[in-house]
Amino acid sequence: MSADQPNVRTAARHPEHLLSIADLGRDDIADIMATASSFEAIGEREIKKVPTLRGRTVVNLFYESSTRTRVSFELAAKRLSADVINVSADASSVRKGESLRDTARTLRALGADAIVLRHPAAGAPAMLARLTDARVINAGDGAHEHPTQALLDIYTVQKHLGRLEGVRVGIVGDIVHSRVARSNALGFRRIGADVVLIAPPTLLPLEVNALGCRWTHDLDAELGELDVVYLLRMQRERHREPLIPSEHEFTQGFGLTRERLARLAPGAVVMHPGPMNRGVELDWEAAESEVALVEAQVSAGVAVRMALIYMLLGGQPAEVAS
């Protein structure tokens, strides 16, 4: 591990919140992976519920609609027997009316133990963490981070490749607008993988080296070397100016076409955080291919989020197995 990756571990002293994947040390991530593995086994039982968090309250506060992430968190908290409250707010009304500050005060008064926040503004979870006593979990904030996505992706890679150290991960596409790219770049690096960002120059941030990874504009030069091809959704809704000449041209250079699918290294896998733009980031056949782990990513989400909520609300990794 390099010097910029602090990996300090105090016994059972986990972070209070998960605002960025950088809040977690390598051992924290290892703990979550181990705990998630136990929870996954529980998910295969007929009765999928444990009484661990009975009497605790988890609030899903979603300022952006995201069925996939919200349902995953909801199921995770319910399987831990927590009381779950779903609050959906329309971001446009938030801009004008009730502020996150007011909402935070309300939830604090109501005694929420953990708040899962999805918000279109980068840094909103950091602000919420300052305003509440509850544990805050970032479920995606603007173009900043989506740390639980990184955790479930790490879990998926571990499960399918059997290792993490030295795994070569290529993150491809709309890096600059992607919270998934930021969390995965930091997260995969932290657990010892080799990460390369692959995008046209206009879809990389100006000082991309600050993300701490190698980067390139040449997918074809990297393709045969990668163990994981991680494709990002083209975030058209965040493009306020023309950044690429056309999606077709993007696909020619950076899409996982059938031709490129055939050139993957043996054993390599394809991942995507969803929802996919079939025909842009990847060919529809690539999406259906047996090397695509998209569904495995989704099913890993529940166990990983159970492990995370459990950890933040005070559980110890060893206690799960019982």
Binding site: L100, A121, G123, M127, R182, A210, L211
Partner: protein, 441 residues
């Protein structure tokens, strides 16, 4: 303390302070006698002659500070600041003159609106208020505002700006500069290329990690270059507000060397803070232009040391807590600065030896009063001159607390910081607005 020296000015002697007066080149321990509104004598060992004597040993006596760039929010934003509360904050910070920007609601773009601000300032009477008029009607960036009318009004407007927004096109800027030469006015530019300012922070390594939309340093440099070329073409007086980048000050440096009539100001916050602060996502650190990276801060300090920078201006921009304390991208830009300016400047410039006290006084008083065209301010401190004076202790340290500020708003980025240097007295035409550190009204 004896007597009531507030309001009506009396006769007294400032005894034994270090007079730092760039306008006369004086920098030594002297006494200053003030009678009524004016300085009547400056010299060594002046006798009391029955007047009150104020011991100023260890303190600096300087021409009162002049701020080319404040936002007093009145009319329209009185919840955040008024001309009265802003004047109190200014006096507390050692200022005797301020220039409120025209981005009020309605904007100051005609004679009656600038006269309102000027008259309110005069009625409050804590600082001289010189309103800045808008360059374009309604600050909409489409057609020229009534610059001549504002200039000929009771407010005698001599500086114009659409501050908050740059003048959008080169041709409109050309016309504004041309038109301003008829009355030797100054055009103040908020220099950010209009097509490159869709962002919340400085574009660089920190923004890459934070995922916030960002504004590159080049947005400023490009706009300064454009305006400098137009100033050369028109012969007009151009002033660059809150210069924040290496490229910006370099463009000004080269323009000055080429004889172009351009001046520039730098804010205390751009000297003391970097984009690293934004990692907290605390909107207290959101400002336009944005806090820059270390290399730009160093370039600004170099430009201060070599004389390129003409003035320190606070860009005092109050916002009520519920408006400012929001998600970073939704929060408005701006920081209060009048009451921390001296402390920040002494801490960031004098303590590390970037410049001396004489240069600080030049930047905070003599330089800006020259740009403003207000000969009653900025010194020299000499017999017959109006007694617009600040006395400050350059050594005392204090810790900034939002609740200790006189502004209506608390949005200081320096809360909790230890600063060096504190105002002891502020005198406006011989009357104490601040005495022994206490605001007199």
């Amino acid at each position: 303390m004896t007597g009531d020296s507030t309001g009506s000015a009396l006769s007294f002697v400032l005894k034994g302070g270090r007079v730092v007066d760039p306008a006369s080149g004086v920098d030594r321990n002297l006494d200053v006698r003030i009678d009524g509104e004016i300085v009547v004598d400056v010299g060594e060992n002046l006798p009391a002659d029955g007047s009150e004597v104020l011991d100023c040993r260890g303190a600096v006596i300087a021409p009162g500070f002049v701020d080319l760039h404040v936002h007093f929010r009145e009319p329209g934003g009185e919840e955040s600041e008024t001309i009265e509360s802003g004047s109190r904050a200014a006096a507390a910070g050692g200022f005797v003159a301020v220039c409120p920007m025209p981005n009020t609601d309605p904007p100051q773009d005609n004679a009656s609106s600038v006269e309102f601000v000027w008259r309110r300032g005069r009625d409050v009477g804590l600082v001289d208020v010189y309103p800045v008029g808008a360059i374009t009607a309604g600050r909409r960036g489409a057609e020229l505002a009534l610059m001549g009318e504002m200039h000929r009004s009771a407010a005698k407007v001599r500086m114009f700006s659409d501050d908050g927004d740059p003048v959008p096109t080169a041709q409109l800027m050309r016309r504004a500069l041309e038109y301003s030469t008829a009355f030797d006015a100054v055009i103040i530019e908020h220099a950010e290329d209009p097509s490159m300012r869709d962002g919340e922070m400085h574009e660089g390594g920190v923004s890459a990690v934070l995922g916030l939309r960002a504004i590159p340093a080049e947005a400023e440099e490009i706009c300064v270059q454009r305006d400098v070329a137009l100033a050369r073409m028109t012969g007009a007086r151009l002033h660059i507000a809150h210069t924040s980048t290496a490229g910006g000050v370099e463009a000004v440096r080269r323009a000055k060397a080429g004889g172009i009539k351009v001046t520039c100001e730098v804010t205390p916050h751009h000297l003391a803070l970097t984009d690293e602060m934004v990692r907290t996502y605390d909107a207290s650190f959101k400002v336009a232009p944005p806090l820059r990276s270390d290399d730009h801060v160093s370039a600004l300090k170099e430009a201060i040391a070599d004389g390129t920078v003409d003035a320190i201006a606070t860009d005092h921009a109050p916002h009520a807590a519920h408006i400012k304390d929001r998600e970073f991208e939704y929060a408005p830009c701006g920081m209060v600065g009048l009451e921390t300016a001296l402390g920040v400047v002494l801490t960031e410039l004098v303590e590390p030896g970037i410049c001396g006290l004489d240069r600080v006084v030049d930047l905070m008083s003599t330089g800006p009063s020259r740009i403003l065209g207000a000969p009653e301010h900025g010194g020299p401190i000499q017999a017959g001159r109006p007694a617009n004076i600040v006395v400050f202790d350059p050594e005392t340290t204090w810790t900034v607390e939002g609740s200790g500020l006189h502004s209506r708003s608390r949005n200081t980025p320096f809360a909790g910081r230890k600063l060096r240097g504190r105002v002891v007295h502020t005198l406006l035409r011989g009357a104490f607005t601040v005495r022994e550190g206490e605001l007199q009204r």
